[in-house]
Amino acid sequence: MGEKETFDVIGKPYPKKDARVKVTGNCRFGGDISVAGMLHGKLLRSPHAHARILNIDTSKAERLKGVRSVITGKDFPGIWYGNFMHTRDYLPLSIDRVRYIGEEVAAVAAVDEETAWEALDLIKVDYEPLPAVFDPEEAMKEGAPLLYDNKPGNISCISDWAFGDEGVEKAFAESYLVKENTFRTQSIKHGMLETHTCIGTWDSDGKITLESNKQSPYVAWRQLAMGLGIDPNRVRIKQTFIGAGNSGGKQEALAMDFAAVMLSKNTGKPVRIVHTMEEVLMMGHMRHAFKINMKIGVNKEGLIRAVDCLAIADGGAHSSIGQLSIYLMGAWMMIAYKIPNIRYKCSRVYTNKSFAGALRGHVVPQSRFAFEGVMDDIADELGLDHFEIRRRNAATPGYVAPNGFKITSCGFQEALQKAKDVSGWEKKKGKLPKYHGIGLGANGFISGGNIMGLSACSAMLKVQEDGTVALQTGATEVGQGCDTVLPMIVAEVLGIEPDDVSFALVDSDVTPVDGGTWGSRVTFYAGNAVKVAAMDARNQLSKVAAEILQAREEDLVFRKKKISVRNTEKSIELDRLVRLCQNKRGMSIMGRGYYNAPCGNLDFSTGKGNFSPAYSFYAMVTELEVDPETGQVEILGTWTAHDGGIELNPMLVRGQLIGSAIMHIGQTLFEGIIRDEKGKTLNTSFTDYKMATFMDIPKSQSLYSMHIVDPEGPFGAKEAGEGSSGPVIASIANAIKDAIGVRFLELPITPEKIVRAIRERERS
C-alpha cells in the first residue's frame, strides 16, 4: 500500500497497553506465579574462583525433612551449550570444575524456600583450589592458569579486521596529527529490579515447560534443548511478564532453568526458582569491562585518515554472546564518522570472575567514551570546535563504510546542528565559570542487525468477528513498549484502535519463531513483520469487501473500523465484514508476515558486511558543574538530538531516551561491580551496587527528533532504545574535561577521582 500522508495512530503518544495491569498490580511476573504442588528450588554456588570439584556429597541434604531432590552437574548429559559454535562453554551445573565465585554446582528442591536454603548448607563439596587469574592481561601471558584446557592464552574469542585502501600505517604516516589514549571501562550490571525467575515442569510425556522472564525466549529454547541433549520440540518456553531485561541473563538459558526442569523431572512437581538480588549481582552477565587503546589520525582539516584500535575485553569465566560484543566495539566506530582506514583488534579474555555479556547499548557506551574523548583532544589541538570536527567527519546519507556498512537515511549532520543550537553551545563553550563544563558526545547505532542464524522476525494475527485483532509475534515486551507500538502498526493498517489489538506474550509452542529482543531490532524487524501480516489480513478482507461494495480493491480505505470506497458513501463495518467472511465463506481472517532485512549477513571472521538495514544517529550535549572540593558532579542540563527515524510513539521514545541517559549517568559517575583481589564481588546488594536515583537526574533534559523518514523502517521508524546509550558517557566525560581540564581515562569518574585530579592539576 502506498503510505498515507497522515496517520490516525502512528505518531501519537498512546499509553502503554500493559500499563493498566501494571498499575493495578495484576500483571504476573515470574515470581508472582505459583502452581499447585510447586516446590521451591535453590542453587549452591562456588565459593572458589577456580577449583576442581573432587566430590559432592548430597546425602545429608537429601535426608533433611522437606527436601525432595538434590542434583549436581552429573545429573545432566555433560553437553556444553552456548551461543556461537566456538564459544559454547556453559554447562547446566558445573561438573568437575568451577571457574568463578558464584558458579552453580548443585541445586535443591524442597517444600519451601527456608528448607531449600537449609539444605544447601548440608551439601558437602570437596574442592581442590586451583590457581586463578583475574586480570585479562595477566591471563593472556604464557604460564597463566588456564580456565579451559582447549583455550590457549585464555582467549575466549577474537575480533580482528582491517579495512581501507591505503592501510592504517600509511594513513597515519600521512596524517597531520595523530593522537592516542588508553581508556578503561568497568563492569556494570543490568540492574533490573525483577531477578531471574523460572518455573520448570517436566511432565510424564517428557515435555519440558519453562515459564520464565526470558527476553529472547527462542535463544533460551535452543540452549535448553542443547544442554539437555534433546530436540527443541520437547521444550516449551512460556514467557511471563518481564520486570526489565536490559539483555544479559534474561537472554539465555541459565543454570537455574536447567536445575528447575531437572528437579521437576526427579520430583514430578513444578519447581520454581527465584534468584535473590545477591545472586544476580554476584553471578554472570554484565557489561564487558574493556581496555581500549584508541589511536586516531587526522589531516590538517581534522578529517579522519585512520583509526587503530586495540582492545582487550574482560570476559570472565564464560563467553556468553561475547563474540558479538567484541566485534561491536569496532563496528560502532564505522557508523558515526567516515573512517577511510581502520585496523581493529580485540581479544576477549577468560578470567576467574563472573562473566560478561550483552547489556543495553551493547558496547556502544564504552566505544564512544574512548572515541569521542580522542576526537575532542584532536579538535582542541587543531583549534577546531568540537562540533565542527564532528560535522566534517559525520556520516551522510548513502555513505558506504569500508567494512561494508551502508548508511541509508542519515540525519547525523542535522542532529549535530540541532544539539549545538539548542544547547546554547556557542555562547557557553569556553565562557562558562570555573568548574562548569559543557561536552558533546555522538554516535550511531543499528536498528537491529543480521548475524548468523535466524535474524528475521515474523508475525501472525487473527482478525476476529468483533473487529478486533489478536496479534502474535516472537517479540518481547521488556518495558520498552513493543506491546503498544506493534499493535499501533496493526491498528494503522486496519483502521482500528491500538486498544482493539491484543499483544501476546511469547509461547514457543504457539507464537512465531523469532531472533530475539536485542540490538534495538524489535520496532524495525518485528514492526515490519507485523505490518506485512496486517497487510496480508487487509488484502484478504479487501478482496471480499471489493466484491460486496462493488469497488476496486485499490479504492478501499480502512479507517475508523470501516472499509469505505474512496470518494463514495459506500462502506461496510470491519466487524461485519469479518463475520461475512467467516460465516458465509468459511474464511477466518489470519494475516501472516515475516521480515528478513535486506542488508545481507555479517561475516564475523572478516568483519565484513552490512550489519543493519538502517542506522540511527545521536548527538548529546551535557552541561555540568563540579564541586572542586568534594568532586561531586551536578548535571545541569542535557540536550539530545537524534535521528531515530519517525517516532511511532513519541512518549515511549522519550521514555527510552531518558531512561537510557539516566542508566548511563550512573555508569559514568558511580556505578560498577567492585571485586576484591580474589575475584569476589564485594557489592552484591543495592546498598553498594549504586544505581542512579531520583536525586541523580539532570536538572533538565531536552530531546529533539529529526523526523527523518527511513525508507525501510515501518512507517519510517528506526530505533530508540539502545543507541541513546551511546553518547551519554562520552558527553559527560567531555564536559568534565571542559570543567576541570582533566581527561579521565577510566570509569566510573567518581568524586574521589575528580578531587585527586584537581589536586594533581593544581600541583603541577
Binding site: W117, E278, G666, I674, T684, D688, M695, P751
Partner: protein, 292 residues
C-alpha cells in the same frame, strides 16, 4: 549469603521492665528489634544471629518525645526517624536533628527506623549519631538495677559495638537545649545523591557571643571505628574570634584526628580530605544559622 529470615522465637513486651527481664533471661541468644530496618537485613545476610527476637514496638513509654526550654529534649529510643524529621518542636529547637533525620535512607525506612535502633547498631556511619554527639546528648540506659545516664560518646565502643551490657536497654536520649546564639549543621556526603550510607558525615554545633566562639562541638561519622567527637578541632574554635582562618584550622585539626579506613565506598585519603571540607562547611553553615 542473603536468604529469607532464619527461624526465631518472637516476644513482644509492653513494659521496659518486662523487656529487660527477657533480655536477662535469654542472654546472648536474644536480639532487640526496634524498627528492624537494620536488624532484618543483617539477619537475612546472616551477619546477625538470634534465637529470640524481642520486639519493642509495644512499649509505649519508649516512643515519647518531650521538650522543655530548660530541661531540653527527652527523646524516647523508639521515636522514629520520621517523627524527628517532622516534629515542629525539633525543627524549632534542634533543626540539626531534623536535618540529620531527613537524609537518613528513604521515607520508607524513616517510617520504621528509630533513633535508638540507629544508635544501637553502632555503625560508624549512623546518620543520627554525629548531630546527637554535637548536641552533647546523653544516653539513658535501663537495667534491672535502674537507669544509668552516660554521655552518648561513651555509648559507642567500636564498629557494631555499644557499651550496653547483657540485660541493658537504651531507653531514651536526653539532649540539652541548644541555648541562644547557637547554630548547628549536619552535612552528609555520599557518592550518589540519595540512598547513601554516609561516606563522611560532619555535624557542628557552635555558640558565638560577640564574635567569639564560646562553645563548639564537632562530630564526625564514617571516619573512625565509631561516631566521634573532633575535640582538637573544637579546641581550635573555642574562645577564638571565628574567622576563615580559625575555621580552616579547626577543619584541618578534624581531618588529622579522624582515623578513616579505605573500603569499597572510599579511600582513607578521600575521607580524610572530605572531613576537612565537610567540617569547614558544617561550621560555616552552623554559624550562618545562629539567630541574630
Amino acid at each position: 549469603m542473603f536468604r529469607s529470615l532464619p527461624r526465631f522465637e518472637y516476644l513482644s513486651p509492653s513494659k521496659v521492665e518486662e523487656a529487660i527481664g527477657l533480655l536477662r533471661e535469654h542472654g546472648n541468644r536474644v536480639k532487640v528489634l526496634a524498627g528492624g530496618t537494620d536488624l532484618i537485613p543483617m539477619m537475612k545476610w546472616g551477619k546477625v544471629k538470634a534465637e529470640v527476637v524481642v520486639g519493642l514496638g509495644g512499649i509505649r513509654e519508649m516512643g515519647v518525645m518531650e521538650f522543655g526550654p530548660r530541661k531540653g529534649l527527652k527523646l524516647g529510643a523508639l521515636c522514629r526517624i520520621t517523627d524527628i524529621e517532622k516534629s515542629a518542636v525539633i525543627r524549632d529547637h534542634y533543626p540539626i536533628l531534623s536535618q540529620a533525620a531527613s537524609v537518613l535512607a528513604s521515607v520508607e525506612v524513616r517510617n520504621r527506623a528509630t533513633v535508638g535502633g540507629n544508635l544501637c547498631n553502632a555503625s560508624p556511619a549512623a546518620d543520627m549519631a554525629p548531630s546527637l554527639l554535637a548536641l552533647d546528648a546523653k544516653a539513658v540506659i535501663a537495667s534491672s538495677k535502674g537507669e544509668r545516664v552516660i554521655p552518648l560518646e561513651a555509648f559507642f565502643v567500636g564498629p557494631g559495638k555499644t557499651c550496653l551490657k547483657q540485660g541493658e536497654l537504651l531507653v531514651r536520649l536526653e539532649v540539652p537545649a541548644m541555648g541562644p546564639r547557637t547554630g548547628g549543621e549536619y552535612i552528609k556526603l555520599g557518592i550518589r545523591k540519595a540512598m547513601e550510607i554516609s561516606l563522611v558525615g560532619a555535624a557542628a554545633v557552635v555558640r558565638v557571643e560577640g564574635g567569639k566562639c564560646e562553645d563548639a562541638r564537632l562530630a564526625l561519622g564514617s571516619v573512625a571505628p565509631k561516631p566521634m567527637r573532633a575535640k582538637k578541632a573544637e579546641g581550635v574554635l573555642k574562645g577564638k574570634k571565628v574567622d576563615q582562618g580559625v575555621i580552616a584550622a579547626a577543619a584541618d585539626a578534624a581531618s588529622k584526628e579522624a582515623s578513616p579506613i579505605t573500603d569499597i565506598r572510599g579511600s582513607e585519603w578521600y575521607r580524610r580530605e572530605m572531613v576537612r571540607v565537610l567540617s569547614r562547611r558544617a561550621i560555616e553553615n552552623a554559624l550562618g544559622k545562629i539567630k541574630r
